[in-house]
């Protein structure tokens, strides 16, 4: 077969593109995943959290989260008897490397992991001017990065401070509940990395999920219930001082 120089010049760039695609690998398919069979959310068991920051590190590694921004972070609260409404809160670098030793004698200390609440009536989804952010039939709030304008209206609308504009991609970004993992039967990176089981991925549509028993037997609350966002990050043992 004779290939002319002209044909080689045409074929080379095409071959380069094809090779790049081969190197990137094909996304693993999840043919058995049916969105309507699930209603995902997260249980956060505050008494179990030790503030190690494993979840933050795992999330940043798994999802390539840029420095200075967080899909999940951990806060440490210090609440004293007479300052319930003004707790002292810290989250150095999102709690990624843990926390300094607590020094105060009085009051109580506890850790609160934070993340996108994947709200049922999410204000971020409501305000997006092009519908680039949406709630899937499985209850996960996602962003289409190829469609997002980067207007930051959703960032303003989120009551929990869970969104940011990705400094390189210039689009809104936040927790996807590790969608690429949960659709393949895995749990999220943060749940996987948590040494105490303080975070648990839950599927409210799965009758065998132990969350049903847990919700029956524990006092569970969501953050800022007055916002009526239908938040689905459920907190066990949530102190009234947490914002």
């Amino acid at each position: 077969m004779n290939i002319s120089r002209r044909q080689i010049l045409i074929l080379l760039p095409a071959a380069a593109v094809a090779w790049k695609s081969v190197l990137a690998g094909t996304p693993e398919a999840s043919p058995n995943y049916k969105m309507t069979d699930h209603w995902w959310s997260m249980l956060i068991d505050i008494p179990k959290c030790i503030g190690c920051g494993n979840c933050v590190r795992a999330c940043q590694t798994e999802n390539d989260v840029p420095d200075g921004f967080f899909r999940t972070w951990v806060e440490r609260y210090h609440v004293t008897d007479y300052h319930m409404e003004n707790p002292e809160v810290i989250s150095p670098d999102g709690g990624k490397e843990g926390f300094p030793v607590a020094v105060a004698d009085e009051g109580k200390y506890f850790f609160v992991p934070k993340m996108c609440n994947h709200c049922t009536d999410s204000p971020c989804t409501q305000v997006c001017p092009v519908g680039a952010t949406f709630t899937g039939p499985d209850g996960v709030v996602l962003i289409d990065p190829k469609y997002c304008l980067g207007c930051a209206y959703c960032v303003q609308a989120c009551p929990y401070g869970c969104r940011y504009i990705h400094p390189e991609k210039k689009v809104a970004d936040k927790c996807t509940l590790c969608y690429h993992r949960i659709t393949k039967g895995l749990t999220t990176a943060c749940c996987e990395a948590c040494p105490t089981g303080a975070r648990q991925l839950i599927d409210l549509k799965n009758p065998k999920d132990p969350i049903h028993e847990f919700l029956k037997t524990h006092d569970v609350q969501v953050l800022k219930p007055q916002m009526a966002t239908g938040a689905k990050a459920f907190y066990n043992g949530l102190d009234g001082s947490v914002r």
């Binding site: 305000v127 001017p129 092009v130 997002c148 930051a152 609308a157 009551p159 401070g161 940011y164 914002r243």
Partner: protein
């Protein structure tokens, strides 16, 4: 971290809405206010403000042409902005911007200006040669009938367009207020009063802006300022300013008295980070002082020169005050944490896409557009040899 006091959620430290988003409501406010001033003459038959009628329309158009620029420049992906037209999200207040904007630009402002200037455009298309002549010919849109009957129809249609334009102007700027007022996550913004305050502050800025432009341009042209006209404009400015101030004070008093969970945090912010821009610039210098000055002109019989100076100073102060109001809403709303436990700082860049220089350029650009429009469509009756303005 630098610039942070107390505790901010880590993603809140960066401010995402910059000075360009401050400029956006300021510019649309000028558009709405200028149009409402023009409608005073057209719909409400306030003959005294007639000398500013056409100038107000051209001012509104100049600023309206620039209004979307700060928004588009601020976007992470500006080239995706047409998606707002093609695939708008029905529940988003921001998605409606494109439609409200296009409606106001094409169906109201351009149409009204075209109807009002049609007679002159036809004359100019016949008497002007060269490229400018072609421009005028295109501007006639092939409609060269300037018979009495045709002009009468223009007049009637123009009246209807202005009538439709008043609620449209309210909608244009009320909707901008709604963008902020409907964010329940942000107590500094979340208020049903926000659209109303935005509309009245828009009227203040638009009226003050046109008054200053009229006085300045008349002086540049070495013509006499029509004092009956500026006295009337100043009177309207004074009364609308009072309504605007009352609404803002109502909002403030309500917040102080209700003192909800966010109050302590917001109160601290107003007394620290926003003290200069809100208490000093917006309230004292930009509202109370011009109100006192305008009040003086209403109750004391002052000589003409004193009134002119007071109007000029009050107009400038009102514009500064309204700009400060936009600043305090947009920037102030992002300085405090939604945890109500901390504050961040806005550091304005200088030469970036959203920096100070860009903001200055976008503020001056409408004036350049206005200059071109005035050259093309002179708003002054005496400058057109062939066609005296309607009513002369």
């Amino acid at each position: 971290m630098t610039g942070v006091e107390g505790y901010m959620y880590p993603n809140e430290i960066t401010l995402y809405w910059s000075v360009l988003i401050v400029l956006y409501p300021f510019i649309t406010g000028l558009v709405a206010g200028a149009f409402i001033l023009a409608s005073l003459e057209r719909v409400f038959n306030v003959a005294a403000v007639k000398p500013t009628y056409r100038l107000a329309l051209l001012t509104a158009l100049s600023f309206l042409l620039v209004a979307p620029l700060p928004l588009v420049l601020h976007l992470g992906h500006p080239f995706r902005s047409p998606e707002m037209y093609f695939t708008p999200h029905a529940t988003s207040a921001m998605a409606m911007f494109g439609y409200v904007y296009m409606w106001y630009l094409m169906a109201v402002l351009v149409f009204e200006i075209w109807l009002d200037y049609r007679r002159e455009i036809v004359f100019l298309s016949q008497s002007t040669q060269g490229l400018l002549g072609i421009v005028y010919k295109i501007m006639t849109l092939g409609s060269t009938n300037i018979s009495e009957r045709a002009l009468h129809i223009d007049e009637r249609v123009g009246w209807v367009v202005t009538l439709v334009g008043i609620p449209s102007a309210f909608m244009l700027h009320g909707y901008v207020g709604f963008i902020f007022g409907s964010i329940k996550a942000n107590p500094w913004w979340s208020s049903p009063l926000m659209p109303v305050v935005f509309i009245f502050s828009a009227m203040v800025s638009g009226i003050a802006g046109v008054m200053l432009l009229y006085m300045g341009l008349t002086k540049l042209r070495k013509q006499t300022i029509d004092m009956r006209c500026v006295d009337s404009i100043a009177m309207y400015l004074f009364y609308i300013f009072i309504i605007d101030f009352s609404l803002e004070m109502l909002d403030l008093v309500h917040r102080i008295y209700e003192a909800d969970e966010s109050f302590r945090s917001l109160d601290f912010m107003v007394h620290t980070k926003l003290y200069f821009s809100q208490i000093v610039i917006q309230i004292c210098l930009g509202t109370i002082l011009p109100l006192v000055l305008l009040f003086l002109t209403q109750v004391v019989k002052l000589p003409e020169i004193a009134r002119k100076r007071i109007y000029a100073i009050s107009g400038c102060l009102a514009l500064i005050g309204i700009f400060a109001m936009r600043w305090n809403v947009v920037i102030g709303g992002q300085l405090f944490s939604k945890s109500f436990l901390g504050y961040t700082t806005y550091k304005m860049a200088l030469v970036t896409k959203e920096g100070l220089f860009m903001a200055i350029a976008l503020t001056l650009l409408p004036l350049l557009f206005l200059w071109v429009l005035i050259k093309l469509l002179p708003p002054w009756p005496e400058t057109s040899e062939h066609a005296p303005a309607i009513g002369d």
